[in-house]
Symmetry: D3
Subunit: 163 residues, 6 copies
C-alpha cells in the first residue's frame, strides 16, 4: 500500500504510539513517523529529542522512517509521495476531533486517505499528557513508554523510579 504517514507530537512517544507504528509497518511498504514541531504548543521535549526517541524506539522496524516537520500535514504527505495518513483512535473524544481533521484534509487533498486504527485495549489509557503528569510527580512510567524515553528521563533530572 505504498507510503503512509503517521503524524503526532510524540512528546514523548508512548507504547500506545509504538503499537500503532508496529501494526502499520505490517500494512504499508513504508511508514513515515512525522514529529510535528508546532511552535505554538509548548512541549516537554525538544523536536530533536522527540525525533531521537521515536527513532530509537522504532530501530527494529526496517520500513519505518522518522522526520520532524513544521507546516501543513497534507503538504508533507504529498511531498513524500504518500497517499495515506494513519491515525490511532482511542476514545470518542479522539473521534470527534479526528473526524473533523479527516474531512478537512480530504478537502485540502482529495487524493489522500486517512485511515484509522484502534489503539490496543492494553494501551487505551496511555496519553502523552497523562505520562507527563506522572513525570511531574516522579512516578514510575515503566510499561508506559519505551526504553529510549526512560533512559532520557534517568539521564536528566527526572527520577521516574519504579518499585
Amino acid at each position: 500500500m505504498g507510503i503512509a504517514v503517521y503524524p503526532g507530537s510524540f512528546d514523548p512517544i508512548t507504547f500506545g504510539h509504538l503499537d500503532i507504528i508496529e501494526r502499520a509497518s505490517l500494512l504499508f511498504d513504508t511508514v513515515i513517523v512525522t514529529v510535528f514541531d508546532n511552535a505554538s504548543k509548548s512541549h516537554q521535549f525538544s523536536p530533536e529529542e522527540r525525533v531521537a526517541m521515536v527513532r530509537e524506539s522504532t530501530a527494529h522496524l526496517a520500513n519505518v522512517q522518522v522526520e520532524a516537520f513544521a507546516g501543513l500535514l497534507v503538504d508533507f504527505v504529498r511531498d513524500r509521495g504518500a497517499k495515506v495518513i494513519v491515525k490511532g483512535l482511542r476514545a470518542v473524544s479522539d473521534f470527534d476531533y479526528e473526524f473533523k481533521m479527516a474531512l478537512m484534509n480530504k478537502k485540502l487533498a482529495p487524493e489522500v486517505e486517512t485511515v484509522f486504527m484502534m489503539t490496543s485495549s492494553r494501551y487505551l489509557y496511555i496519553a502523552s499528557s497523562l505520562v507527563k503528569e506522572l513525570f511531574m510527580y516522579g512516578a514510575c512510567v515503566e510499561g508506559l513508554v519505551p526504553a529510549a524515553v526512560l533512559s532520557r528521563l534517568r539521564r536528566g533530572h527526572i527520577p521516574a523510579e519504579c518499585g
Copy 2:
C-alpha cells in the same frame, strides 16, 4: 497492501458504501465486499439480490470482488488470505460498536487489522435503515442509492418516484 475485506449487510448498498469501496479500491490490491447472510436478521432484499446489486454497482472497479457469506467474519478473512478488514465510520454511535468489534476481532485473529475510513461528509446521513424507511413510503431515493438498486425498485412493486 494485499487483500482487504469490506463486510456488511448491504440491504441495499448505498452511495455511502460505494464511496468507501471506491476509496478502498485505491488503497488495496483487492477489495472483497462480503455480503453477510445473517439468518437471524430480517432483510428487505435476499442475499442473492444484495450481492447482485453490489456487483453491478462496483462493476467499474477491476479489483473489487463480491461474495455472500454466513459465518464468523475472521474465518472469512483468514480463508481469503486477507489481513485487513475495512469499515466506514460515520458517527459516534458507529464508533462505540465498531470499537468493541475491532477489539474482539483482534482477540480472535491477532494478525488481522481493522482499518476505518471516515464516510464522506456528503453521504453522512445515508444509512440503509433510513433508505428503507423512504422505500416504505414511496419516497424518491435517487442520489442515495446506485442505479442497480433503483432499477430493482422500479422493476418491483416499489414506486420510489422522483420529482
Copy 3:
C-alpha cells in the same frame, strides 16, 4: 415563526414531551404534534389513545394541534405548510440519530428546517420506554406522565399505584 411540527410516537406522552410542546408553543404561531402511526413498530397504546392523551394533555395550549399520521414526515410537514420540525435532545445517543435524520430530511426537503430544543434537566431521565417498563411492574408513574395518561392506566388493568 409560522407553523412547527413536533413528531413522535408518544407511547405515551411524558412530562418530557409536554415540556418541549409548551416551550415550542411560545416560539411558534402553531405547533402541530404529529403522532406517528408506524405499523412496523409495536406500541403499548393505539394511535387513537395516543392522540387522545396528547390532546387532553395539551388542551391548555391554544395554538397546539394534535394529529395522527402514517407516512413520510417531510410530506406531512409540507402538506401543513410548516417550515420547521421541532425535536427534543436529551443525550448524546439522541444526538447521533437526530443528526442523521435532520441531514436526511434536509436532503428530502431543503426548505424545511429541523430545530432542536434541550430537554429540561428535571425531565432528562423520562423516556417513554422506561415509563413502559415501570407500567409493566406496576410502579408509580406520577410525576412522569400527565393526568391523561394516569387516568387511562387506572381505568385499564394497569395499577400504577403510588405511595
Copy 4:
C-alpha cells in the same frame, strides 16, 4: 458499605462481569448478583441456567450471593436492605443508557445510590451479545467466559472448540 446489588441479564456471564463482581466484593460487605428474568426479552439460556453459571463462577467469593428476579430493580434493592446498585461502564453508549437509568432509579428510590465501575481494559470488548454471536458460529470463547459457561456449551450442542 453494606449490601450492593449488581443487576444484569448474564446471558451468559462473561469475564467482564466476573471482573466487576470480584472488585465489588472487595468494596462491599455483601454483593447480590441479580439475574433478571425479563420475559419480554429472549435469552440464550434459561434463568435457572444463568443463575447456575453465575453461582459456579462466583463460588470462590464468600460474600457474593446470586438470585433470579423479575420485577422492578429498586423494589428488589429495597427488599434486600441494600443501598447501592453497582453497574459496569464500558463505553459511551453504556454511559448514555446508564445515566438515564440512574436518574430514574434515583427518582423512584432517592435513598439508593448507583455507583459505576469502569470495566478493566482487557475485558472492554466482551459483551454477552458478541459472545453469543461467537457461539452461533462455533467459535472459540475461551478467555471470554468462565469455565461454568464453557462446560455448559460443551455439554450441549454448541461446539465452541479452540485452537
Copy 5:
C-alpha cells in the same frame, strides 16, 4: 418568531457560520449576530475586524444585524428583547458543551430558549480553529471562509494562495 441572537467569536466567520445565519434569517424576524469580545481569549482578529467581516458577509440578508458584545450572553439577549438563542451543532463534543450552556442559560433566564440547528454536512469540518491553522501555513482557504475574510487576508501579510 421575533428576534434571535446568534452568538460566537467569529474569529473569523466561516461558511459554516454563514450557513446557520442564512437559515436562521428565514425563521426569525430579526437575527442579531453577536460577536463576543472576550478579553481572556486571544484572537487572530480584533473585535472590530470580526464585526466588519460578519457584517460584509451578511450584507445580503436584510434582517440580520451584527454587534460586538462583552458580558453575559443572557443580559445581551434580554436587553435586545430577544427570546431565542440560536446555536449550530456539528459534533458530539459540541453537544456536550452546548447542553451545559443551554441548561445554565435556562437557569439564568428561564424565559429565553436556546434552539439548535445542525450544521450542513458540507460544512461539518470547518471550525475557525482549523481555518486559523491553515492561515498559519499559508494554505488555501477558499471555499471555507467568505470573500470578506479572504480580502482581509490578502491585504494583510497572510498569503492564503490557491491553486
Copy 6:
C-alpha cells in the same frame, strides 16, 4: 466501605460537588475531599481559600475531611489508607477523560478502585468553569455555589448580586 477520596480543584466548590460529597458520605465511613494544588493550572482562588470554602460547606458532615494536596493522586490515596476514589460523572466528555484516568490509576495502584456517581440532574449544568464565567460578569451565582463561596465573593471585589 472504609475511606474514600474525592479529588478535585474545587475552584470554587459548587452545589454539584457538594451533592456528590453528601451522597458519598452516606456510603463510606470517611470521605477525604482532596483539594489539588496543581501549580501548572491557574486558579481563581488560592489553595487555602479553596480548602476553607470546602471545609465550611461540609461542616455539617461529620465523616468528611478536607485536605490540600500537590502530587500524584494514587500516592495520596495509599498514604491515607483509602481504597476508593470517588468521581462525579456529568456528561460524555467527562466520561472519556475519567475513563482514561481510572484505567491509568488502576495500572499505578491496582488495589485502588475508582467509583463513579452520576451528578444529580438538577446540578448537571454547574461546572466551576461556567461559574467563574458568571463571576467575571458579576452575574448572580446563588443556587449554584454554597454560602461559603458567596460570602467570600461579597467580601472581595466580586459583586455577584442577585435579583
